[in-house]
Symmetry: C2
Subunit: 202 residues, 2 copies
């Protein structure tokens, strides 16, 4: 209850239609929005700030769906930016670029003037870190992962296309964020299974 007021203050929920000076009315749509907000924050682990920006992107009128979605994804948390003072970052960028080359999505079709997109930054930062720790993450190592994510993105878009065009952006955002725990949970279950299969003897 107090939390709802807090979200209202933070601009995550629209204020209700004013019925009198001090009374407002909330409808089914408000409730939906509230559930979405709580889901993004609690299940999708979005910080309140990011959630606000992401949801704001959904209400930008007059943008193409691609642009709306881009804006929303842009607002998702993406961890520390690559540290370009670190020479390891340069080499990580080369690895990332080689990977994108290999799988044939060099910078995702965005106009080439775009600076590093947040997902690309995530990738570079993670590769830098893995390399510094001596863990394998060459373009060849990463390629099967990229292929798997390519298939997942196809599935994602298939789900999105079940919806009416004016709902698709919200659905895409929700699925991007809320499927993350699903994917990570499934990955860990699959790892346990595969590890058991290989090291059963232990």
């Amino acid at each position: 209850m107090a939390t709802i007021k807090y979200y209202l203050r933070e601009g995550l929920l629209q204020p209700g239609r004013r019925i009198t000076a001090t009374l407002a009315e909330y409808d089914e749509e408000h409730l939906r929005r509230l559930r979405l907000v709580r889901a993004l924050i609690q299940v999708g682990r979005l910080p309140v700030n990011s959630a606000r920006e992401v949801l704001a992107a959904l209400h930008e009128e007059g943008l193409s769906r691609n642009r709306q979605l881009g804006t929303a994804v842009w607002a998702l948390p993406h961890g520390p930016a690559p540290d370009d003072t670190d020479p390891a970052t340069a080499s990580a960028r080369r690895t990332a670029d080689e990977l994108l080359e290999r799988v044939g999505w060099s910078h995702g079709g965005e106009p080439p003037d775009a600076p590093d997109s947040p997902p690309y930054q995530m990738l570079v930062t993670a590769i830098t870190t893995l390399t510094r720790l001596g863990y394998p993450c060459s373009a060849a190592d990463l390629e099967p992962y990229a292929r798997a994510m390519e298939r997942i993105a196809v599935d994602d878009l298939n789900l999105v296309e079940r919806y009416a065009p004016d709902e698709q952006v919200e659905v895409a955002v929700a699925l991007t964020v809320l499927y993350e725990p699903v994917l990570m949970g499934l990955r860990r279950l699959a790892q346990a299974r595969e590890s058991h299969r290989r090291f059963e003897a232990d």
Copy 2:
């Protein structure tokens, strides 16, 4: 610098070998550990507490690799537990079970006395949330995702098997945690690409 002291206090790093009463010596191994800790926390977004537990599991002697890995994965954050007072949770459990049935890993080969594993809980909570919001997440919808994660787990274990047995648990943990941003970054890049391909007209 102050951060290192903090990690020492928190038990994330082993104290250095005492050289005098007030002077300790840190070697290459300590440095490695420090880098690993920072990577898990900053890139892998682990809370300090979880990082401690995860790392502690690596030093449990006398357990099989599978058990060590299980303990470590158990300590990873897994979001809110399913709310069993909510009837939607029961239906989500059925969906999850059906999914695991379909892909043929019913509870990951763990002994059946195990309570809900954290990854299973993540799955159930996420399915509950998605269902409540009216987003698609039937077992049929989720199956391709599970298949993709199955392939990823195979790649994960392939990477792990490059290492000597006594390093494998640490590698597995590090790859589980540190590949998450890689996977999510790749997924978002692939989504952008696929969305562009489909909605180019916009």
